[in-house]
Symmetry: C2
Subunit: 507 residues, 2 copies
Amino acid sequence: ISCGISKLRKPKLLENWNTRPGRRAFRSFHLARNVRIDHFGFDENLTFQQRYLIADQHWKKDNGPMLFYTGNEGDITWFCNNTGFMWDVAEELGAMLVFAEHRYYGESLPFGNESFSDSKHLNYLTSEQALADFAVLIEHLKGSIVGAQFSPVIAVGGSYGGMLAAWLRMKYPHVVVGALAASAPIWQFGDLVPCGTYFSIVTNDFKKSGKGCSESIRNSWNAINSLSSTDAGLQWLSSAFHLCSPLKNLQDAAILKSWLAETWVNLAMVDYPYEADFLQPLPAWPIQVVCKFLTNPSLPDKQLLQNVFQAVNVYYNYSGEASCFDMSQTATKNLGQMGWYYQACTEMVMPMCTDGVNDMFEPQKWDFDALSNECFKLWGVRPRPSWILSMYGGKNISSHSNIIFSNGGLDPWSAGGVTQNISESLMAIVIPDGAHHLDLRSRHPCDPSSVQQARALETRSMKQWIEGYYFRAHKEQDQKRSRGAKGRADLNCLNPLTESCCQSHFQ
Amino acid sequence: ISCGISKLRKPKLLENWNTRPGRRAFRSFHLARNVRIDHFGFDENLTFQQRYLIADQHWKKDNGPMLFYTGNEGDITWFCNNTGFMWDVAEELGAMLVFAEHRYYGESLPFGNESFSDSKHLNYLTSEQALADFAVLIEHLKGSIVGAQFSPVIAVGGSYGGMLAAWLRMKYPHVVVGALAASAPIWQFGDLVPCGTYFSIVTNDFKKSGKGCSESIRNSWNAINSLSSTDAGLQWLSSAFHLCSPLKNLQDAAILKSWLAETWVNLAMVDYPYEADFLQPLPAWPIQVVCKFLTNPSLPDKQLLQNVFQAVNVYYNYSGEASCFDMSQTATKNLGQMGWYYQACTEMVMPMCTDGVNDMFEPQKWDFDALSNECFKLWGVRPRPSWILSMYGGKNISSHSNIIFSNGGLDPWSAGGVTQNISESLMAIVIPDGAHHLDLRSRHPCDPSSVQQARALETRSMKQWIEGYYFRAHKEQDQKRSRGAKGRADLNCLNPLTESCCQSHFQ
């Protein structure tokens, strides 16, 4: 079963994932194993079922490499379906593919339906626990799959999964020989990057996708503000935007604006050069399609907003099947909203802000205290914004090695990404025409050459890491052999200070 | 106040540690700060007071380096007093000294008297939490001490503290530029090293310290077994060994044997070339002194055991003040026995075994199940022997850098230490005449040349790490300056793939 997605192979193929070998190009397995709920303490001894997918059709059974997708905040089959790059290079690398689900997402719920019930049950939803899950899963696979004992493993991930891939290499370099961290905003924390860049990249995408486009959106906020000051206006907005639940007050109008803003952001993330279904089913270069409706920013409020509706209709109703819009759902249900909200309320504090000048959004300062209070209300926890920096080093990561950070120039998340080489083995790849981890998607005839080149570079690096690993492994074996059966006392005598230690101490 | 120990300065000076600057050679401070009890979860929000000591008399205030002792299983003032090496090199390096206490030891008890009450309270006693304590403490110090913001920090530690020093560099390389891990048995786990080497090193120490010495000890076990089969024999043993509580049965006799075995092991650890007081006050080369009483292994049981008593009397009664021997205390009370027993029952599972042939002990196989059951009885927890390997990489640590592993040839813990170079920047130093982290002790006229050379090598490496850090810091500053005020869009265009991205995307 192939899980690479394209125009011809839609997600319904997912249903074929099962524990038996598939009948298509890839033999694949859908598995689960028991993992400790708490890796970092000994009091809580419970385990949970972590799901992972394996495809080994092209794997070279004699310690061929393993590409290991570090699952992020959603159903792993969905990430598997949207990471065609791994499927595309599997044969060339002779690699086994593994997709590991992140705890608290998809089917990997530590406490089943209780997982999100309170802060006690949520206590084990952290990146550190997830990395430990991945590390022990890799060790388990290498220990249990015949011929994989000495397989080099490369971590691959996109977005938060890309952060996890990079961090897995940083924290467990003995487990993975390298990492491809695609669109991983590992620096969207603390004051490492300006909080406004994210939204200015979104704005740039709209600005260059059509005349008047970003200005129309910038003007739409005031139009909504005007209309939402009266009941009639609220009613008009509810009907104009085909909302499932009508707006009742100013608070609802604020939700409408957030929903629109999130829609523009999502469009920037998935501004792919061909028809695709990632967050939503969409046409090629969707922002250009959207912007066709937003050419005149100077229209009267109602006309402007009718155009805005036409624009979001592209995002929410490309299939033409939506009868009304539900503002609580802006993207695919494969993403685990609950879990990510909790993570954003604890470790994943990513400062964001807008000024309405360098971006097309209503000005909004970064307000940590408001977030903290909201988090406490929702989950009974408060975020610790500096912890990720203490844990993963912020910008001070030059002592690590073998990580590729790839970023798309269209992707707002590139604001927090590594876009310049840090060292020879910490490489940055910028894909100017790429949106959110375009490089991880399947090959496509419409791929811009920049993403083709990026993938070629990525593949080349992965081959180098693999070859380096085999080279070192062989050298070590040779060394062991040449040392022969010398005992322990001799080892003590391999002394850099003096050659005479054996006489004085181990005669 | 100096905390380096020598014949002239005995531990009573410790009483002078206080929060005000001292009056002796070193200005020093005794401090504490609030630290999270749980770094890895958000449900438990309590903090505890972590103690640390600072001496900054020789510190170069303009970002001079910091030597940071990663405290191990005991009172930090005691480690401070026994790590004279740091005091000896402070002036040469212009370094600030920091000694940080390990949670659950000394005065750094997360739940006060309740800390050891049950597995709930003990749940936060792990090496991972301790490393996080150190990392955030270093960040706090750099952030709060004027002139320390860009200070390079080097971790220093001995024994378990040496393991922590090495692991701190491995897991938080952005926090410490290097580590001196003295007598750190990071490989005394799983099946990384043979379980019997530890005790065969102890045996070697006795074998070469006097004719008949190790044989006398080997024969002593059967002598005890014979005598302990009768009540009269037990009584004779109790009196011959001056025990505070007389032996009542075979179980007590087994405790006597364990106590003796531990005594021989401790002697091997502290077989220093001069009079010292580490685990106990002892003469120079104490094993040689001990072995003077154990020259004839063929004596009848009672005579042999009377000699064994004379031998242990050297260890427990060098001061001549002991009236009877308490078998529950084999070393200084500065070590936290409770805490270490728990750690040995959870993460720190170090397989040990004896065979009576390659060593002078009664044969005893490594019995994990017995340990596990004992741990469950004591603490309600079971050890996870593979976790340390998953977490810290076992022997697969070559991707790390800037760690010196020093080991003494006389030290049984060298069995689990790194005694061969792993790479240019993961260096092993073997000190043939050294016992347990002799190199960390103060300079002494009786130091063998091997430890002098080791310290010189260690100091040279630390200087290289410090210079390397300053060099990189200056280079980065220059780069930032030469980049000037270029904005974010430009950064996006520094694209390794194509120079033309700016035209297509950021015009």
